[in-house]
Structures are given as structure tokens and as C-alpha cells.
């Protein structure tokens, strides 16, 4: 049994590997392999290759089973995978809350620290109240001089009081006077001076910051009750285009201003005010607004910055509402009785003014 060809040898080898040979034949085969080294090598190789074939198949089957079972398992576990986002949120919830809180606090504290809220009110309003800063420059210079002189003094000098001027006018013959609330805010004392130069001390009886009105009462021994007030108060709204005029104290002398009622609402659509076209200046605040018959229809209060000829006057209606809301005990028994007899009715404008100006005061606030 010398050289077998490869095919026959492999058949024999297959039979050997599959253990189909008898003991006798096995020994023969092994002997043959020992004698024929080329074929012995081929046998080893064939054994490995066939083994690999079997292993590959077993592995493929195993993998198929694994994937099949894994799919079944994955399906039964499906609900868990949907909670991924929620679990992420659960983890980050605290961080997010802390971050949001810090952000909010820092934003608002920064805005507050930089004075944003204070400026907000100032910058968004181009409404300008018309009280007059008296002697501003002089006072500043004086304050500086005093500061320089007292630079070595440890004790603080009494602060220079603020000093404002505006207009007010009489509403009853027993001494009630109306002016703007913004005129007397922060006032230590209020003095009224008429065009003759007589000065009276006044109390603040009532204020209404929303309507920007303040009711004063002359509280001075030199003041005598007057017989009557020449003008009346017109409670109905006046019409656009009506001739109006005012007298005020933008300086220390009374100044007459004339114009017309240009709109029936005030600043930013305020229905309790008129827009009027009269040149007004700081100091005109609190002055009476009269129509051509001599009825008071409003109280000058302010003007719009950067806009020519847009001044505002509070309607008489607002004054009436304010007067009605004064608590009885603030009045000390001196009731507010408005005049209802108009003495200016048929007079010319110059005569009207002559009669009027006794009842219009310069309001000095210290």
C-alpha cells in the first residue's frame, strides 16, 4: 500500500475521523500515516478544517439562538427604554432648578444694583412737572462754599432745604387753596404770597398723588376771609378749540398765558386731564386754567418734553372728586363751599385778570 492519490486518502481519512473503521483498519491507517509524512500532514490539516466547519456551524446556530432570545427579551423590556429621557430629567432636575434660581436672582439683583428700576420710571416718562427750582445755582454755590469753609469742622452743618416755587389759587372764600401734589411733596413748610407781596403760611390739608392735587388751607392770623371769589368751577368737560388762559408764577411776577384747548385727554391718554396749547414753564404748575367766561376748567400740571405746545391741565372734575374725598375731620369744621356766582362773565380779558389776580398765589415750598 504505497502511494494513494489524494482523493482516496481523504476518503480513508474521513472514514477514520468519523470512526467508521475497525480497530484493525485504524492501525493500518495510522501506520500508513507514519510512513507517509505528506499525507500525515494532510490528515492533520483536514482534521482541523473539518473541525472548523463543524464549529462554524455550531457557532452560527448559537448566534442565531442568542439573537432570537435577545429580541424576545428586548421586547419584554421595551417599556424601560422609553424612560431614558425622563431619567435624564430626574437626574438634572435639581441642577436645572438651582441654575434657574441663580439666573433669576442675579439678573434682578444686577438690574436693581445698577439702578435700572429707578431710571426706568424717569426715562420712560417724558412728562415734566412744572415746579420751579428756586435759586438752584445760587444754592449749589452756597452749599459748596459752606462745605469748603467747614471742611475741617467735624460737625455737620444743617442741610440746606430744598426750595421750590409754583402757583396756587383760591377755591373757597374761607382760605382753601389748590395746587399740584408734586409741588408740595417733601415740603417742610408752605407759604403763599399774593401779587401784592403779602405772604401767608399754609397747611397741607389733603393730598391726592394719583390726580396730582393738593389742598392747602391758609393758616395765618394776617389772613382775613374774603367776601367772594370772582370765578366759578365748570364741572362739565370743555370742548376742543375753546379759548383758554392762565396766570402763573414762572418767575416772581405773575405771567399771563393764552391759548386753546387742543385735546380732551392728557398725557398718555389720561381722561382726567386736557391737553392745552399755552406756553408754560416751570412755576406754572398749580395755576388755574380759565375759559373766556372766567370759569375755572382745570389746573395746569405739566408738559411733554420735546414736544412744542403740549401742556397738560387737570380737569375740574378731578378737583371735585378730590374735594369730595377729603375726610371730614381734616377740615376742622371749615367746609369747602365752592363759589357759584361768576363775576367775570361779561368783563373784558384785562378786567377779568385784574379781578382774578388777588386770588392767585405764588406757592413757596421750603
Amino acid at each position: 500500500m504505497k502511494d494513494l492519490n489524494e482523493q482516496d486518502f481523504l476518503d480513508w481519512a474521513d472514514a477514520y475521523l468519523r470512526e467508521e473503521l475497525s480497530e484493525e483498519e485504524k492501525r493500518q491507517f495510522e501506520a500508513y500515516c507514519e510512513a507517509n509524512l505528506v499525507h500525515k500532514e494532510l490528515l492533520e490539516w483536514h482534521r482541523t478544517f473539518v473541525g472548523d466547519l463543524k464549529k462554524a456551524d455550531a457557532r452560527a446556530n448559537f448566534k442565531r439562538d442568542l439573537i432570537r432570545i435577545g429580541q424576545g427579551y428586548g421586547k419584554s423590556y421595551q417599556p424601560k427604554s422609553t424612560t431614558k429621557v425622563i431619567s435624564l430629567w430626574d437626574k438634572l432636575k435639581l441642577n436645572a432648578a438651582v441654575a434657574a434660581a441663580i439666573a433669576i436672582v442675579s439678573v434682578f439683583s444686577t438690574l436693581w444694583l445698577t439702578g435700572y428700576y429707578k431710571n426706568l420710571k424717569k426715562t420712560t416718562s417724558d412728562y415734566s412737572a412744572l415746579r420751579r427750582d428756586m435759586n438752584t445755582v445760587k444754592r449749589n454755590v452756597n452749599a459748596q462754599n459752606a462745605a469748603i469753609q467747614n471742611i475741617h469742622n467735624t460737625k455737620d452743618n444743617a442741610k440746606e432745604t430744598m426750595h421750590y416755587g409754583a402757583t396756587g389759587f383760591m377755591i373757597t372764600k374761607n382760605g382753601y387753596v389748590v395746587t399740584n401734589y408734586h409741588v408740595i411733596t417733601g415740603a417742610d413748610s408752605v407759604h403763599l404770597q399774593n401779587h401784592k407781596g403779602e405772604s401767608f403760611k399754609a397747611n397741607i390739608v389733603f393730598t391726592n398723588p394719583e390726580k396730582d392735587l393738593a389742598i392747602l388751607h391758609i393758616n395765618d392770623s394776617t389772613f382775613k376771609s374774603i367776601k367772594s371769589i370772582p370765578y366759578t368751577f365748570k364741572k362739565q368737560d370743555s370742548d376742543m378749540g375753546e379759548d383758554v388762559y392762565t396766570i402763573g408764577f414762572p418767575r416772581d411776577e405773575a405771567v399771563y398765558g393764552q391759548g386753546y384747548l387742543s385735546s380732551s385727554t392728557g398725557y398718555a391718554g389720561d381722561t382726567l386731564a386736557y391737553q392745552i396749547s399755552i406756553p408754560v414753564n416751570p412755576g406754572n404748575s398749580g395755576g388755574p386754567l380759565l375759559d373766556k367766561e372766567g370759569n375755572v376748567i382745570g389746573i395746569i400740571s405739566g408738559k411733554q418734553k420735546g414736544l412744542d405746545g403740549a401742556a397738560f391741565a387737570i380737569k375740574t372734575k378731578a378737583l371735585m372728586e378730590t374735594l369730595n374725598s377729603i375726610p371730614a375731620d381734616s377740615l376742622n369744621g371749615k367746609n369747602v363751599v365752592l363759589n357759584n356766582k361768576n363775576l367775570l362773565h361779561n368783563l373784558s380779558r384785562t378786567d377779568q385778570i385784574k379781578k382774578l389776580q388777588d386770588y392767585i398765589y405764588i406757592v413757596k415750598v421750603y
Binding site: E6, Q7, L10, D11, D14, R18, F49, V50, D52, L53, K54, K55, A56, D57, A58, R59, A60, N61, F62, K63, D65, L66, I67, I69, G70, Y73, G74, Y77, K80, S81, K84
Partner: protein, 193 residues
């Protein structure tokens, strides 16, 4: 300690089951060992599907090791599977980046064993996949003849009947030719590497 002992028993049961290709063993493997590994992967930027893939790969590593001959479990099966999964997931994450990215807090010995098992598995897997694809690429009737004879272990007489060969010698010649072709295909691919 009785708990620990039963763990070891379960482990060896599973290993025996896998060696025999038992589906119950695979199911048990999934039930006991998949959840912690899936948790680890999902917590490390992985999806549920990726966890499945990694786990199956891990089981294949285990399979390679078990069928590689004398497999002795040096630690608990859970530890082995966990560290293999971790290595595989790390490799998956660092694909295209540094090839060897070592976790500094890794248990060195454990990860080394895992790495070895993975490398061995990859070598075996590559060869066997090649064998499989070569066989599948042969075409009929060669594939079925070789499959029936070598894998199913059918006798040549059965094959003769199935394919209608007139005598066993014809079938044997056909089988030999097919085997030669298979070897040729296999070596062509091996040598082309």
C-alpha cells in the same frame, strides 16, 4: 455562604448549557446578566439597542472561550461578563480614537483577562466566519453535499440517494471536488489578507 455557592452552581450550569448550545442557558444568561450590563452601557451614553449588541458580542466571547477547550472560570461569571462588556463598550466608544484607552480606575488584572479573551475570540471568530462564508459561497450542490457529510455526519449512501447519483464512487468524486474548491476559496481569501 450558601448563596455564593448557589451562584457558582448556576454559573457552571450556564457554562455547560452554552457548551451544548442549550437555549435555556441563553435565556438564563440574559435574565441574570443582561440587566446590570445594560445599565452600565445606558449610563455611559449608550442606547438600549447598543446594549443588546454589546451583550451579544460578550456572550460570543464567552462562547469562544468555552469552546476553546479547557475553560476554567477564574472569577464569577458576572465579573467576567461585566469586564468583557466594559472593554467592548470602551472600544466601541473610542472607535477611531486612541486604540488603547485605559480606564485608570480599572482593575488591571480583570481587564487584562477580559482583553485576552476578546482578542482570542476575535481570532477564532474571524477564521470561523471565513469558513462559513466560504462554504456558503460555494453554491449548490457542493454546499449541501459538504454540509450533509461533514457537519450533519450523514453517510455517503444517504447523499447518493438525495442527489440521485448512480453509484457511491460518483458521489465521492463529487465530494472531493467540492472540498478542493472550498479549500481553494478559503485559501484565496486567507492569502489575500
Amino acid at each position: 455562604m450558601s448563596k455564593g455557592k448557589s451562584d457558582i452552581q448556576i454559573d457552571s450550569e450556564i457554562i455547560d448549557g452554552i457548551r451544548e448550545g442549550d437555549n435555556l442557558a441563553i435565556e438564563q444568561l440574559y435574565q441574570i446578566h443582561f440587566p446590570p450590563i445594560a445599565q452600565m452601557i445606558v449610563n455611559n451614553r449608550g442606547s438600549r439597542e447598543e446594549a443588546q449588541d454589546i451583550f451579544q458580542e460578550t456572550v460570543m466571547v464567552l462562547y469562544s472561550k468555552i469552546n476553546d477547550g479547557d475553560f476554567v472560570l477564574s472569577s464569577k461569571l458576572q465579573t467576567f461578563l461585566y469586564s468583557v462588556s466594559k472593554r467592548l463598550w470602551l472600544k466601541h466608544l473610542t472607535r477611531g480614537e486612541a486604540k488603547y484607552h485605559k480606564d485608570p480606575i480599572d482593575d488591571y488584572g480583570e481587564s487584562l483577562a477580559a482583553e485576552e479573551a476578546i482578542v482570542d475570540h476575535e481570532v477564532i471568530e474571524e477564521r470561523l466566519l471565513l469558513v462559513e462564508s466560504s462554504l456558503n459561497g460555494l453554491g449548490e450542490p457542493c454546499r449541501t453535499i459538504l454540509y450533509d457529510f461533514y457537519i450533519q455526519g450523514k453517510s455517503m449512501t444517504d447523499i447518493c440517494e438525495k442527489f440521485g447519483y448512480t453509484n457511491a464512487d460518483n458521489a465521492k468524486t463529487q465530494k472531493y471536488k467540492c472540498l478542493q474548491r472550498l479549500k481553494k476559496v478559503f485559501f484565496k481569501v486567507v492569502n489575500s489578507y
